[in-house]
Symmetry: C2
Subunit: 190 residues, 2 copies
């Protein structure tokens, strides 16, 4: 039942449907690391093709895991220790094969709906009962390119509320999806 997560900054679409690399957002590092740590999901891969952005991500991580931040905020250190900065999904694949001894099933989450989509209970079953190794893949900007989508093993149903508005931040979407896949009830319910 291992789950990893990858946040992709390239290749993704921009507002106009062009393929671009997006900037790294500081809170994407922190929020997603904290949610991943909470739900026992690791590693958290930050995927960026641009070397300067990889260096920036690494600088933020080092500040909180080894620098001043590590002493100032120990829970932040703990969360950010599980991050790996990599150039592409092929590297994620290689790292996970080495770590888990078998290839991950890349599972794409999208605000768009696809015909071959798994529900959350279905994916949860694959994780909990069938012991499939899953790497959840999230796109920044206006979403993962069709090329990435088509190479995925699974697609996961979009998160929707009782409105027709579906523009969650990637930080919100990740948090909700990890909760749906890994939450445990405290008391009676859920």
């Amino acid at each position: 039942m291992p789950i990893a997560i990858a946040l992709v900054h390239y290749p993704v679409y921009n507002k106009l449907g062009q393929v671009v690399a997006t900037s790294l957002t500081n809170l994407d590092i922190h929020d997603i690391a904290r949610a991943s740590r909470t739900f026992g999901v690791e590693p958290y891969f930050i995927v960026h093709a641009v070397e300067e952005m990889q260096a920036f991500a690494q600088e933020v991580i080092t500040h909180w895991t080894e620098g001043f931040g590590a002493e100032y905020n120990v829970t932040r250190k703990e969360a950010l220790s599980f991050i790996e900065v990599v150039p592409d999904l092929a590297t994620v694949d290689r790292h996970l094969q080495k770590l888990w001894g078998r290839p991950p099933k890349f599972t794409i989450t999208s605000a768009r709906n696809f015909p071959f989509t798994l529900t959350y209970p279905e994916l949860r079953r694959k994780i909990d009962e069938e012991d499939e190794p899953i790497c959840l893949v999230f796109g920044t900007g206006y979403g993962l390119t069709d090329e990435v989508m088509l190479e995925a093993d699974y697609t996961l149903e979009p998160v929707v509320g009782p409105t027709d508005y579906n523009h969650l931040s990637v930080r919100s979407a990740v948090s909700i999806i990890l909760d749906r896949l890994r939450s445990i009830p405290v008391k009676k319910g859920l």
Copy 2:
């Protein structure tokens, strides 16, 4: 079944347990507005006692609802249109009484566990079946003060994963809790 949400910046605790006012975070405005809009939760009250911070919040909102941002990103405009900036929870109470014709039940969410805590299915039942008007209250910093906690109508169980780490960002916590209270399954499941 109306639900509103309030993000409190004062009074909250800091790391040392002192009562402080926290700074406004730009992404708290955006992420929580987008999640609220997705799950049909409104208004979204930003509670801050400091006038300069209220003005800053209002400036961000105006940029996206009337200024350049409104034309640049229409979905952002839609999300940020539901925000009200207020000085305290008493004002939230007055506004909601006026809006809904009855006082809201203030429902506190906390990473800490309290004996009189509702589960998510229990609160969902109160909303969906008993038509109780709910205002969810979230604290920034290191959480809402005991004084605020004691005045609440309900407390909601903490969000936990399969680890002992419970340091979600407030943006993540809000997203997960709205999903638990308002999600609808797309296909077969949940």
